[in-house]
Symmetry: C2
DNA sequence: ATGCGGCGGAACGCAACCGTTACGTCGTAG
DNA sequence: CTACGACGTAACGGTTGCGTTCCGCCGCAT
């Protein structure tokens, strides 16, 4: 019964508002205004701001990310870092993710939702990637996938979402090489 | 003329409010309430919320951090990572920093202030640490201090401020070893 | 003793937004 | 053709916070 084009307009408006003003300052009225929609239409779908945002975020973030499998760990790594850096350079991601992360620190529901959609992905990617590499003998037995994930995502996130310095291909190469070195070296035990 | 004890009370209240509700929802009235102070006292010192927060943040974050210099890069690194991880585990830091980072993405003044107080520190630490190590021959000539800083701070920040998983000594050791390996390996060129 | 100035408290008018409701329109299913 | 239901608009009372103003208190310097 609820018209789908209206729902889509609202979803888009929420994402834009989130990017522009953040969760804290997001108001239902602004979303309605932006979507060209009455508040009624929003309250007919969700009962409050938190529920609305959580549902939309879950939906958007829940889309599957393909795990690279190129045949060698080095090129898997290159590819993954390129994908991640591209993703983090999109306005939506680079604005919304840090904002929701900060919000998650005070709102358990947001925290729980984010962990579900982000960390589970992250973890499975890490395990698969490291697993493949270990099986191929490219990484030492017992390499900790958690450490690996932190080493891969941490610097990228820091650069792009925190430090907000631009990343060029040259830099990405250096970083990939360093990460590769660190894992080959001795994150074992 | 302005009473100093009042100023201190306000500063503390601002930091607490920032940690609890974030910049977006921080209200002058709440700060005044918390500090046990009239709004008048606040407006007598700063003319608005942004100016107040910027001044206080600059002041708090501007305190110098000693750069480790233990004689070997490996132990410098261990020490630095321990210091940073300790700092990031404090409630104030782990709540306020991500919040302000997110806010910085849309407020140029906040962004500029944070970059001044954080990045400059960060950069100088990186350059000094890497410089020492290269001079000692512990790292290859031409090691990029930027990459090094990202490799050191990125994973820690990711773990503690984003992923929010606990860090134990064992994990810290693995991470330090990995970072060391990556830098010794080949982040050069 | 007098006066200056910072202080807390209270109230101001204004704006934004909450969540709800009433109303009139319009497309569609029956 | 009719009835239903989602739609936009507009208004509701209530809350919160802004930035300002005025008051009376009190400490301090003269």
């Amino acid at each position: 019964m609820l018209r789908n084009d209206i729902t889509v307009a609202i979803r888009n408006a929420v994402m834009s508002e989130l990017a522009e003003v953040g969760y804290g300052r997001l108001s239902i009225e602004a979303v309605a205004r932006r979507a060209g929609v009455g508040k009624t239409a929003i309250y007919r779908r969700w009962s409050n701001k938190l529920e609305m945002v959580l549902e939309i975020i879950t939906d958007v973030a829940g889309r599957k990310v393909p795990v690279p499998d190129t045949g060698s760990f080095a090129s898997d790594l290159d590819l993954l870092m390129m994908i991640v850096s591209r993703a983090l350079q999109h306005r939506v991601a680079s604005q919304i993710i840090p904002d929701l992360m900060a919000e998650a620190a005070r709102n358990p529901q947001i925290a729980e939702t984010l962990q579900r959609v982000l960390r589970i992905h992250q973890q499975s990617v890490g395990e698969k990637l490291v697993g493949q590499a270990v099986a191929r003998g490219e990484l030492p037995e017992g390499t900790d996938p958690d450490v690996a994930v932190d080493l891969i995502l941490g610097p990228l996130y820091w650069r792009l979402a925190v430090s907000r310095q631009p990343i060029d291909d040259d830099y990405l190469e250096k970083l990939a090489a360093a990460v590769l070195g660190s894992l080959k070296g001795g994150s074992a035990t």
